[in-house]
Amino acid sequence: MERFINHTGVGAPLRRSNVDTDQIIPAVYLKRVTRTGFEDGLFSAWRKDESFVLNQDAFRDASVLVAGPDFGTGSSREHAVWALMDYGFRVVISSRFADIFRGNSGKAGLLTAQVEQGDVELLWKYLENEPGAQISVDLESRTITAGELVVPFEVDDYIRWRLMEGLDDISLTLRHEGDIERFEAQRPAWKPTTSVR
């Protein structure tokens, strides 16, 4: 995974709450067996509407998404994170994220920056008054800078550390393989098994 220290890019205001993963990428795009190329599915229903924010010239190349509360609810599909990243997003800012989406983002390298809803409103206003303006997101200091506006954001400490180090989760766990083996050795015999008994 690439290291994430800070990012500056065009911010896009998505004035919606409850942006569920079926809106981020509909199920029809989940049939692929590859890990890349999901950008065409991102917000596919909404992108048919000319007035949708990402269809406006100023926001077309956005890499920081500012959305309403409960972003990423619904399905566990990591394709939602891949679609956002394949499109070019590096950061999603919201006042509340769904748990699985937040976890998936941390694994794939997309930063979910949680801010107060009041700050989301301020960022929306700023981006609507200055279409195409850039937003800077600094993971080191946990701050978002948009023009004169500086707002703090929350991110899980462990996810932050992993993102800043660009560490692969599986290798981290495999450092503790001995612990896993010890645990396995003391599991009761009646625990479920999928082998044919």
Partner: protein
Amino acid sequence: MGKTLAEKVWQQHVVRSAEGEPDLLFIDLHLLHEVTSPQAFDGLRLAGRRVRRTDLTLATEDHNVPTTPGPISDPVSRTQVETLRKNCEEFGVRLFPMGDAQQGIVHIIGPQLGLTQPGATIVCGDSHTSTHGAFGALAFGIGTSEVEHVLATQALPLKPFRTMAINVDGALPEGVSAKDIILAVIAEIGTGGGQGYVLEYRGEAIEGLSMEARMTICNMSIEAGARAGMIAPDETTFAYLEGRECAPAGEEWDAAVEEWKKLRTDDDAQFDAEVTIDAASLSPYVTWGTNPGQGLPLSANVPDPESFGDDSAKAAASSALEYMGLTPGQPLKEISVDTVFLGSCTNGRIEDLRAAAEVIKGRKVADSVTMLVVPGSARVRLDAEAEGLDKVFTEAGAEWRLAGCSMCLGMNPDQLQPGERSASTSNRNFEGRQGKGGRTHLVSPQVAAATAVAGTLAEPGDL
């Protein structure tokens, strides 16, 4: 201080705990399906890793499978299913493919095999893994990166979840189902209300439910944003499990039950949050909007967006009504539907089919309505046919299909057309979920059956 059920199960699975780091949790059972696993197997191949515990891993084909006889016609869907088969063969994972008597929706087959057991940690690359919590298991959905992680290590680094008690006090009134309870809970706490929490459903109304009804409730915990839902195991749980193919037997059964009986929240345990619902206040529920929290009693009217508290909720309600094509003040029971879908991991079990069949028996599906009945697994289908339920449905004019996820998410050919409206026993009424432009009302099997007959949203008493 005592511990909650969720905390007990968590503690029994901690492989490693260190200050400032997530706990490393051992996973007892990993379920796979074709949609969220291909990239995980690719990751293993790239890193030269194997599946650590094939004996704790099981795969099935469910999301893409057609519910009419014959092969998969969509080449992309077919490739995905074939990829799962190749991966399972290469890595030695047991698979129930289409046509196998054990095939079915991943969350239906775990319990019916007796693999889903109290106190187990269960994961799957699917958010409705919360279903298995009905047995007192700690079961939750994961993303594809985590699928790869569990395949490689049989463990997951996780921060402890918070706990929330959902008390459903008193006896459930006649005609109110598990689906109505959970829709009412989500309407109460909202789609984000459970975020970060494991919900433990408790109280007289929950204790009185069958295992299948408990699964319906735990299944939709994710729609309240929760990581998992759980119900403490009891005699109902043990009676359901005893004798099933993968359940322990003989002395092992006795040892297991002895452990399972300890899986109860201690009297002096503290939940991080608590919600209480009076069962007597519940009635059949239906969603009117585009998220599962936008639900009301079936006897109510379509709400006015202006009646919602904050601007964000007003805007959400207003755009939901526009998408759904509904007018504030319109009685919900006057909404006519084109399609009724009975099935899914929420309501695709034998008791769901029985409940709907009881309503529809001797009646006819309205001319304006197409009704699809999709059993959750091949075994549910066979059991239903042995009871003659298939005949009840087909004689009423409904379509009797093969097992799979089907119209819950429309990855197979079962989809709504733009503007079409459904009453669906599934779990999500998101925009376009059941087909581009489709409009979904979530309901119980009983309401689905009554609606199919009436042609408008209805409960059995209305017929």
